[in-house]
Amino acid sequence: MLNIKNLHVSLEEEDKQILKGVNLTVEAGKVHAIMGPNGSGKSTLSYVLSGKDGYTVTEGSADLLGEDILDMDPEERAAVGLFLAFQYPVEIPGVGNMTFLRTAVNSQRKARGEEEMSSTEFLKVIRARAKDLKIDADMLKRPVNVGFSGGEKKRNEILQMAMLEPKMCILDETDSGLDVDAMKLVADGVNALRNEGRGFLVITHYQRLLDHIKPDYVHIMADGRIVKTGGPELALEVEQNGYADILAEVA
């Protein structure tokens, strides 16, 4: 599904290397989790994969479903099947949530040469998905993320993911700022999308999310590299002992 090889990334504006050779393969049907200290490059990895400006790839490659995505525009990557649930979802005043989602769904369909979704069908689907995530009609009508609470923004990200049905989902700290019930809702939303054809990369600081979304692999990122990979037990170890031991061990 997603193949990242020896990825080196620097900031465009200043001569600072952030990713220093990331190797990671996410197979279809699998959930990979990434943990790691603040500033280790987790969000940067997710941004570079989704095509945000401001970064320069100096070495390495990333392909999704066999296609080299690093030269693509963000919208092309989305059409291939990439989705990033943002650590900090962006507020867009004046653009209705519904309008935004419908435009997104149909833009992707169009890019893939598929038929657009009719407004009745769209309404039907979004209502059902919104209900599962306890997102009320009012939130759908409001401008994208404007005035949403932290938790509402994160649920809105999952709603978008559910509507866009991507192949490869990257979740950047979707659990931060969620109360216990909201975390369960979000996890249920993610689990509902788990299937044979879909890969997940879940960035988190807490083991708790991984209780709900059971990962197949856990990676530890530090200073721009993946320094350790293991099973779910690795997350428990981090939760109990922090990163010091792991970092010392690989140093």
Binding site: G51, D53, D73, F86, V90, I92
Partner: protein, 426 residues
């Protein structure tokens, strides 16, 4: 102060190209207006009030040519139930217009009423005259003196549909001067729509008198003919608990100056003037607003948004004047531009002049580029750059469009904006 010779010459040259309509009740008002005009002279580049907008092409004797836009697009408001009044290059078109009969309103043409006495006498040129102080608006005086036609709308009740003034531009050299008067009686309510490019050059004046408890709604679009020029004036006087709401959408046009002069004379009145403009290339668009609070507990709002690209220019001059005794005034003013490239510019001069102590006035003016974070967010969801930029542009303009009270009209404007944006892209 004596008028500069250069102004005297420019004014006489312009007047020589005009013919004053004769006879009937408006004669005295026209003669007065001409005297006013000659005393102030037509604007020149040196006038402070025309610092950001060159008046040359608006005042010169002959209108510069303007190509007529070929389009298969349905005119704005087409699908709406409304009373249509059509002017082609400033000339009334009876065949294309509806019958003027409508309950709650009486409508006549300025050119038709040869009576010696008419209700409009108390207003024609009167609000315009009041609006000449403290800033001269010579093009409005010229309009009062030389307007060839227009409509006189007397609203006595609540007509069931909007009065829709439709302008069409057919001749590349047309030069039209129209003057409308609207009198809204106490408790009455009306919506006036205007759309279309009126002529190669258009000088339009509208005087609106809103009595106690009356409401006046105004929505206009100024047409997409790129080379057209327009200088328009709206003069409004508001009585106690009355409401005035005006919204203008301008897309294209090499020269547009829209002046709006509002006087809140009765307590608890409300006035909103809003505008959205899309400018491209040699587009120049100027909103000049002057709102006077002369009563207690009145509210006024100015909400102007402009999207500029390829070197387009936007101007905003907006003033709130709070007179002594106009306590509890709530004045709000915002003017913002979205600059899609570095060649475009937005010039803003917001002004507050306050002579009462218990007032809340705020004003703000900003210029910004597209929000890159938001753009990336949209693109990451699969929306291509062009449509994503359009969505953000629409969202930027939404705050102005939202000032339109009627939802159907607001929707019509939003749809039109969306269509124009996507057309601009292709």
């Amino acid at each position: 102060m004596a008028l500069a010779q250069i102004k005297i010459d420019a004014t006489s040259e312009r007047l020589a190209a005009l013919e004053m309509p004769q006879g009937g009740w408006s004669g005295a008002a026209r003669a007065d207006a001409l005297a006013r005009l000659q005393a102030m002279g037509l604007p020149s580049r040196r006038d402070e009030y025309w610092k950001y907008t060159r008046p040359d092409t608006l005042v010169q004797a002959k209108a510069p040519e303007a190509a007529v836009l070929e389009t298969d697009e349905k005119p704005v408001f087409s699908g709406m139930d409304r009373l249509k009044i059509v002017f082609i290059d400033g000339v009334f078109d009876a065949a294309a217009s509806d019958d003027f009969a409508l309950e709650g309103v009486s409508i006549e043409r300025l050119a038709d009423t040869s009576a010696d006495i008419h209700w409009a006498q108390g207003l024609y040129g009167v609000l315009e005259t009041a609006g000449q102080d403290p800033v001269e608006r010579a093009l409005a005086a010229l309009n009062t003196a030389y307007a060839t036609d227009g409509v006189l709308i007397h609203v006595t009740g609540k007509p069931s549909k909007p009065i829709s003034l439709i302008y069409r531009h057919v001749s590349t050299s047309s030069d039209a001067i129209l003057h409308h008067v609207v009198k809204v009686d106490a408790g009455a309510e009306v919506t006036v729509l205007e759309n279309g490019p009126a002529a190669a050059r258009f000088n339009k004046c509208m005087e609106v008198d809103i009595a106690d408890g009356a409401k006046f709604h105004h929505v206009r679009t100024q047409g997409r003919d790129h080379e057209r020029r327009a200088a328009t004036h709206m003069f409004a006087r508001l009585g106690t608990e009355s409401v005035f709401k005006s919204f203008t959408l301008t897309a294209n046009g090499v020269m547009t100056r829209n002046e709006c002069v509002i006087e809140l004379t009765g307590d608890d009145a409300h006035a909103t003037v809003a505008g959205a403009a899309l400018g491209d290339g040699d587009f120049h668009h100027d909103d000049t607003i002057f709102i006077t609070h002369d009563a207690v507990n009145c509210e006024s709002r100015q909400v102007f948004k402009k999207v500029l690209r390829n070197g387009a220019t936007g101007v905003f001059q907006g003033k709130i004047l709070v007179k002594p005794g106009a306590q509890k005034t709530d004045g709000y003013q915002i003017s913002q531009s979205l600059l899609l490239d570095e060649d475009s510019q937005f010039l803003a001069k917001p002004e507050l002049e306050i002579y009462a102590d218990d007032v809340a006035c705020s004003h703000g003016s900003t210029s910004g580029a597209i929000d890159e974070e938001a753009l990336f967010y949209l693109r990451s969801r699969g929306v291509p750059k062009g449509p994503a930029t359009d969505l953000l542009t629409l969202s930027f303009l939404a705050e102005a469009v939202e000032e339109i009270e009627d939802e159907a009209l607001a929707e019509e404007i939003t749809e039109r904006l969306a269509a124009w944006l996507s057309r601009r892209r292709s």
